[in-house]
């Protein structure tokens, strides 16, 4: 059973019909439905292209949160070899919403860190839907320190609705943990590349994405607040999320114009969820290209580059 988004309903209908026809033909040898079925396929493909050619910001949010979109774990498994997960913040616990460890990307040793949302009910609960607690950020700080000491580039994969708003998280200093993680991002003398693979949710994303280069998948989003949250505060109506998504300028394309995103990684047609392998490969290529580029800079230059990037940010705004 495929997962269709609300705006993909017409597509679901056509693809469903084609599937039905084929199923019928399998039971009945004399029937030849291939012609009709491929006509439906063609129709579905055109529709898909049309739908995805110009996604509204709110639709992009839906695609970015698509449950079948490849998640951090999928990227790590497919792109890296010898991935060795490292656990714990050495203070309190290990946060399963944050994955991280040593790994090889091509012939480079790197430290990889990312938010993992999980892919079914059990793993989602285990991963807390990708919402990290202070321990997650403190683990990230530890891993970034490790990367700095052993001169390993850091790759972060961002996919989180935001930091977890829970009682324990607040008690243990959620804000301080996020602030320290952002600060650590700015302090390490190794290349830091961040890829927003789905949802870049507010401070919980910044804590990992304060990088030399921030790349975003074509249909990923990065925002100060969720469109629903923004709508309920500014419109006093959570149902106005379409308007809020529009106003917030949270798409990769707008963020590229604003200079927040340095590079947009193209997704397969119909979004990463339709061809995870292709999406993962595209991310791998982009990360390697960025790391090649950054390898020309030494430690102090990398720190300076990162700081300057953020100091300069926002000077021009969106062109009218």
């Amino acid at each position: 059973m495929k997962n269709y988004l609300e705006f993909e309903k017409p597509l679901a209908e056509i693809e469903g019909k084609a599937e039905e026809l084929r199923a019928l033909a399998r039971q009945n040898d004399e029937m030849d439905v291939e012609k009709e079925a491929s006509a439906l396929d063609a129709k579905a493909e055109t529709l898909l292209k049309d739908l995805y050619a110009d996604l509204s910001p709110w639709r992009k949010c839906q695609v970015a949160r698509h449950p079948e979109r490849p998640h951090c774990k999928d990227y790590i498994e497919a792109l890296f070899t010898e991935y060795t997960p490292l656990a714990g913040d050495r203070n309190f616990a290990d946060d399963h919403a944050v994955m991280g460890g040593l790994a090889r990307l091509g012939d480079r040793s790197v430290v990889v860190i990312g938010h993992e949302k999980g892919h079914d009910t059990n793993t989602r609960i285990e991963r807390n839907f990708g919402m990290a607690r202070p321990e997650g950020y403190r683990k990230a700080v530890r891993l970034m320190d490790l990367a700095h000491r052993f001169n390993l580039p850091v790759v972060t994969l961002v996919d989180t609705p935001g930091a977890y708003p829970g009682k324990g998280a607040e008690e243990r200093g959620q804000s301080e943990a996020i602030a320290r993680s952002t600060q650590k991002c700015l302090e390490i003398g190794v290349p830091l590349v961040s890829v927003i693979i789905g949802e870049g949710g507010s401070g919980g994303a910044v804590a990992f994405a304060t990088a030399n280069r921030v790349a975003m998948l074509e249909h990923s989003i990065y925002s100060v607040i969720s469109p629903e949250g923004c709508a309920s505060i500014l419109w006093k109506d959570a149902e106005k999320m379409r308007e809020a998504a529009e106003a917030l300028r949270l798409t990769a394309q707008d963020l590229h114009k604003l200079g927040v995103c340095d590079r947009i990684i193209k997704e397969p047609f119909g979004g990463a969820q339709r061809d995870p392998k292709a999406a993962i490969e595209a991310v791998g290529k982009a990360v390697e290209a960025i790391l090649d580029d950054l390898s020309k800079l030494d430690g102090p230059a990398l720190i300076k580059d990162r700081r300057q990037k953020y100091l300069d940010l926002g000077a021009q705004g969106l062109a009218a």
Binding site: P165, E170, R172, A179, T182, E187, V224, R307, Y310
Partner: protein, 306 residues
């Protein structure tokens, strides 16, 4: 909502409830309900004399009380581009800004100043909660960077008074980017070996807490200030249970190791000066309310010795 309730009713109300006393002479303490005379209140740094509730204080009032003789000079903040996203919710962002400027008389949500506290030179930045909930946008980011740069240039400590509802949504991602930007400012101070002291006032929440407000060398809070990342309402909605009394208040954070001290407003100045002078290896301060520093007389040219 219609024109009857929006327009007619307030007019009728205003006819029947004409005030007998001029406005602003008395303030009711929101905590205990005591009526406080305005002069008494300002002499007491906007703290209720009955229940010690710390009310809001504008940056100018605060600086007036902190600096010797109430004298300070403003540090110029580079002006960011206005309304970078052409943001519009139910109102246009420029209209909201105009409204905030009109009601506060301030340009933006942060004021940066330099001056002397008990003859101790400092740079201070203060967030203004009455200006769009003190929200952190590009201007606030620029203000903190300007404050840090000035502190580094003058070799002075930076004291920052935080108060904010979080990031300014109307600047979208650019407000979020003030988290790393202001962290760069903190790094400048750290590298220069200068004290960075955060005074957390009510309320300090969201992206502000999760960046510069939690990166101080010292964290001092005012009593009962709400300090958090996620607000109590959001948490109650998430975990569906009532939060304990005092949750996320200054004393609670002190108990949980997030603050160094909780200090009454009337003792704040002396405490800041005391710790700054120790951190900077200066001799103890001459304490008390000092007049404004005299302008240094021009040093006579040293006589030529031949």
């Amino acid at each position: 909502m219609n024109w009857i309730s929006n327009y007619v009713r307030p007019r009728i109300n205003s006819i029947f409830s004409r005030r007998e006393v001029p406005e602003n002479l008395w303030t009711k303490c929101p905590e205990c309900g005591t009526m406080l005379f305005h002069r008494e209140l300002s002499d007491n740094f906007n703290v209720c004399s009955n229940c010690d509730h710390h009310m809001a204080m504008s940056p100018r009032e605060r600086f007036g009380a902190l600096f010797d003789g109430g004298v300070f000079s403003e540090v110029q903040v580079p002006e960011p581009i206005a309304d970078p996203l052409h943001f519009r919710d139910q109102k246009r962002y420029p209209d909201r800004m105009r409204e905030a400027r009109r009601t506060t008389g301030e340009k933006e949500a942060m004021l940066v100043a330099e001056g002397e506290m008990m003859r101790t030179p400092v740079v201070a930045a203060c967030q203004d909660f009455s200006f769009m909930a003190g929200s952190m946008g590009m201007y606030v980011g620029n203000a903190i960077i300007a404050a840090a740069e000035r502190a580094v240039q003058m070799r002075r400590p930076l004291v920052l008074f935080s108060a904010a509802g979080g990031a300014r949504m109307q600047e979208g991602i650019l407000s979020l980017m003030q988290m790393p930007r202001t962290t760069v400012a903190v790094e400048m101070l750290k590298e220069a070996g200068l004290p960075y002291i955060v005074v957390l006032t009510h309320p300090t929440t969201g992206g502000v807490t999760a960046s510069y407000a939690m990166l101080g060398d010292l964290h001092i809070a005012e009593p009962n200030a709400l300090i958090c990342f996620a607000g109590p309402r959001v948490i109650e909605q998430t975990i569906r249970e009532k939060l304990p009394e005092g949750f996320q208040r200054a004393e609670y954070l002190l108990d949980h190791g997030m603050l160094d001290r909780v200090t009454h407003r009337k003792d704040m100045k002396e405490e800041l000066v005391t710790v700054i002078r120790m951190m900077m290896n200066m001799p103890p301060a001459i304490k008390g309310d000092l007049p404004a520093p005299e302008v240094e007389p021009e040093q006579p040219e040293p006589a030529e010795t031949s």
